[in-house]
Amino acid sequence: MSTLYAPVGITPTKPLTPSHLKGLLFFDCIRRLESLLGTGVVWHNRRPWDISLQTLRFWAYLDATAPGQDYTLLSEADIGLRYMQCFQSDTVPQQPVLERYIQRIESEGYVHPSSVRVLDLWRGVFDVLGLDGAALVCSEPFLESQQGVLDRLAGLGLLLDQRSCGGAVFLDLTDQGQALRSLVSEQGLPNYLMAILRDIWARAADHTEICLYHDIGVERDYVLLERLLQLSGVSTRRIAFNRVAVEGKVLSARQGGWQYFTAADILQRVAGGYSAPEIRLGFLLYFLFDDGIRRPKNYSDAGLAQALLRAREILCSVPEGGSCEKSVLAAAVRTRQGVNVYGCLSLLQQRKVAGGLKRAILECLL
């Protein structure tokens, strides 16, 4: 059995926020724990997100408003502020402008210098937290053409194509009770759903199942993807994560609210003096355990600091060596459809749980 993991990407146009951290850490834990149950391949292709309209709009905005800008010295916040300004402005690039970017991304994997800078800055956070850096660098051509995807949809009877009368192209799952969803606008521009389909649909054929992973904000689109893949014969499951509230609000980065709460800011402010394993475990405990079910109203430095202290205590209290068999750990975390990350982190914090099991958990997660 082989699982293709297809996590949602983060557009490299803004700072990493607590919500991003939670998403990245949760996926990383799922992947590590599920590796105990079977084989899997993680497909981190940034290209669908680079080619998304929100990224293109930002790149076009930067090139129009600050041509020749040197981005190598700008901070995440500098670029994030420009991102907010872009979406506060009413200027939407003309279609030929967007098409030029699309062509460069498709043909040469183009990345705008502002996003190169953002990815470079994110790398520091990824390294400290032990996250998979492939998410930052992988940009591979799509396996399938747009027309290939449309032909497949037509073959399944799930396409509404109104291009002949100047209209859009839709994924039509109305018979499944799902709302009609555009894939290509009436201006001829494909959206990110089309890019995802071009990227993963054909790739899924090499695996026994596909696991879609996304934040709750795009759940409607991912429900559509799940249904479509299932209807096409691909065994599909879907895992969603909730975003983290900051100062009482769950905002998109384009709306702001991240100032003072970027991942880099948090690490610098709260995690000083801790070792790399303590930081990683502390962040796991905070974002995936404390924020998982207890759901604090807001992200808080104090809460994270307490989690870091707990992580230090756990790492000190669990003896080196003597970890239990992987099969024992697998049995402890397995659920009907995958693994229980929350339960796994709970085991680490229970006194009665054997040291061997705790050691195995730490070896798996850290």
């Binding site: 509404l160 109104q162 009368c165 100047g166 839709f170 109305t174 018979d175 009609l180």
Partner: protein, 207 residues
């Protein structure tokens, strides 16, 4: 049934529109579900739909001149077909009580949008199954998107058929114009009010 298309006629039409809803017990919205735009198929579907309307629905329609929503969708889908009152493979129609806050058609489908330009010199004859004569439909297409054009076409034909209480025509002759239509024998006109000035968007004349 004929009238000279002058200021007095336009004012009379405007007054009729403004008073049309006075006796209506409820309001309604016409949902048009469009898979593909084919003028002939559309007109056939619309005329067929109008023939299914009873007297109550006709009165309701006249009380709701401006409430037409054109949605992109496939009227033949199992989930859509039962929600329509009439349709063919390209288009379907449903007259729905506007007080329903969550209409399933509006939830499942999205507004139809098109970038297709309209030809202001287009002429087309569409044979229909009705037993009446020939209707001439003149429509000023300046500045219209296809979706707005469909709304005007729908209202012109529907309100002509309902208010004139004529038999369905045997044929329809459509002419796109780049100016406001001014046929002397217009029986029905679609009026737009722009900053107080009356503008004729389209007319139907009977022959």
């Amino acid at each position: 049934m004929s009238a000279v298309l002058n200021e007095a006629f336009l004012r009379q039409r405007l007054a009729a529109v403004q008073q049309a809803g006075a006796g209506a017990q409820s309001t309604c919205t016409l949902f048009v579900v469009l898979r593909q735009w084919h003028a002939r198929s559309y007109v056939e579907g619309l005329m067929g739909f109008l023939q299914t309307l009873d007297a109550v629905s006709r009165r309701q329609w006249l009380a709701n001149f401006t409430k037409t929503r054109v949605l992109a969708g496939d009227p033949a889908r199992e989930a859509i077909r039962p929600l329509l009152q009439y349709g063919n493979q390209d288009v379907g129609f449903a007259l729905v009580d506007s007080s329903r806050r969550h209409d399933p058609l509006g939830s499942l489908l999205v507004d139809f949008r098109s970038t297709m330009p309209l030809d202001d010199g287009m002429r087309a004859d569409i044979p229909l199954a009705g037993g009446g004569g020939l209707w001439h439909l003149h429509l000023d297409v300046r500045g219209l998107s296809l979706q707005a054009y469909i709304v005007h076409l729908t209202h012109l034909l529907a309100e002509s058929a309902i208010s004139l209480e004529e038999r369905m025509p045997a044929s329809l002759r459509i002419a796109h114009l780049g100016v406001a239509p001014t046929p002397a024998n217009a029986a029905y006109a679609r009026i737009e009010v722009d900053e107080g000035a009356l503008h004729c968007r389209g007319t139907v004349a009977l022959e």
